[in-house]
Subunit: 168 residues, 2 copies
DNA sequence: ACCGTCATGTAATCGGTTACATGATTCT
DNA sequence: AGAATCATGTAACCGATTACATGACGGT
């Protein structure tokens, strides 16, 4: 069984939080990784199920009522996570930007830039707010990831700004 | 029928090149958009087929031998492409970087940084070579996209560099 | 002739996306 | 009590990824 980035996100969150329900995972994603890696809530139901089949997590299910599920990471899961984390990667992100695609195929930069700028500024503001309200207890990993996000947004903003002035 | 980014890539390339076979599309992708938007060659067979069903392209197939297919964009296709291009988007790219994910979940930055730096530097060098050997005839869209790629790679490089020094 | 690589295509699988549903809570 | 929203889950579909195949062509 092949573990995907989604798998490691689930494993990582379970390691960090102890047991969780899919809904709790969703909550955690929302305020953290969700900012730079989109997951749909359905994935947080299907992925733990798959991981359970592979023995990376244990599933426990309520008897009555909602039949809520709770997942806990197993030793095999912890091991897989540690292995993944310990292995550096040369994979770099793609720029997969819808706006760039349009630009590539001849869209008008002056028309594209304003909404892009606005959206990037909003995202930057959000990141900065998160950073400024982050409790001391948050570990270094998320901090650095957030910092990367901030740096990236700033760069995007200045690139689109340059496009605007060069075209006016 | 819902058009995806993949659809617009195919349409855009067909508009730009006139008729093409899937293989020709693959070639075009390789040197251009492929740099910031990955497509698998199988998609360049299945996507035109789907577009043909929707009336956005016409398919012509050789009688004998390889039964090679050639696609041409239709008026409906041109229209759809123009509409898409004319509509600005507020969608901004996600950072979806495998290395960031590892960092987020506690990977050692000092171990992650060197291969990342190397990979980003290679990518930057490639972009710069493309830029410097680009014929005059290449339109502005691809030029700007390339410029965005260069700016992005530079930013990534300096971010990882900063990580390295801050940790040594 | 043979071998390697380029060219060309199909099929199966699988994860991601969308849509649908309904049970709890909270607020008015 | 009713409405709205939060919580929780399942299922269908569809595109993307992977794997499998084989035909053509250039070089030795």
């Amino acid at each position: 069984m092949q573990l995907t980035p989604t798998s490691y996100i689930v494993l990582g969150l379970l390691e960090w939080s102890g047991d969780s329900t899919p809904y709790a995972l969703k909550q955690m994603v929302a305020g953290s990784i969700g900012n730079f890696w989109t997951l749909h809530h359905a994935q947080l139901y299907s992925e733990p199920e798959r991981l359970a089949k592979g023995g990376y997590v244990n599933e426990e299910r309520e008897r009555g009522g909602r039949r809520r599920r709770t997942y806990a990471i197993t030793d095999a899961g912890l091991q897989a996570l540690a292995d993944w984390r310990g292995q550096a990667t040369e994979a770099i992100p793609e720029l997969r930007a819808p706006a760039l695609l349009k630009l590539f195929f001849g869209a008008d930069p002056a028309q594209l830039a304003p909404p892009q700028l606005e959206a990037h500024r909003l995202k930057l503001a959000e990141y900065e707010r998160i950073r400024d309200t982050m409790p001391e207890s948050v570990p270094e990993g998320p901090r650095m990831a957030l910092d990367a996000g901030i740096a990236h947004e700033r760069q995007q903003i200045s690139w689109w700004e340059a496009i605007m002035v060069s075209r006016s």
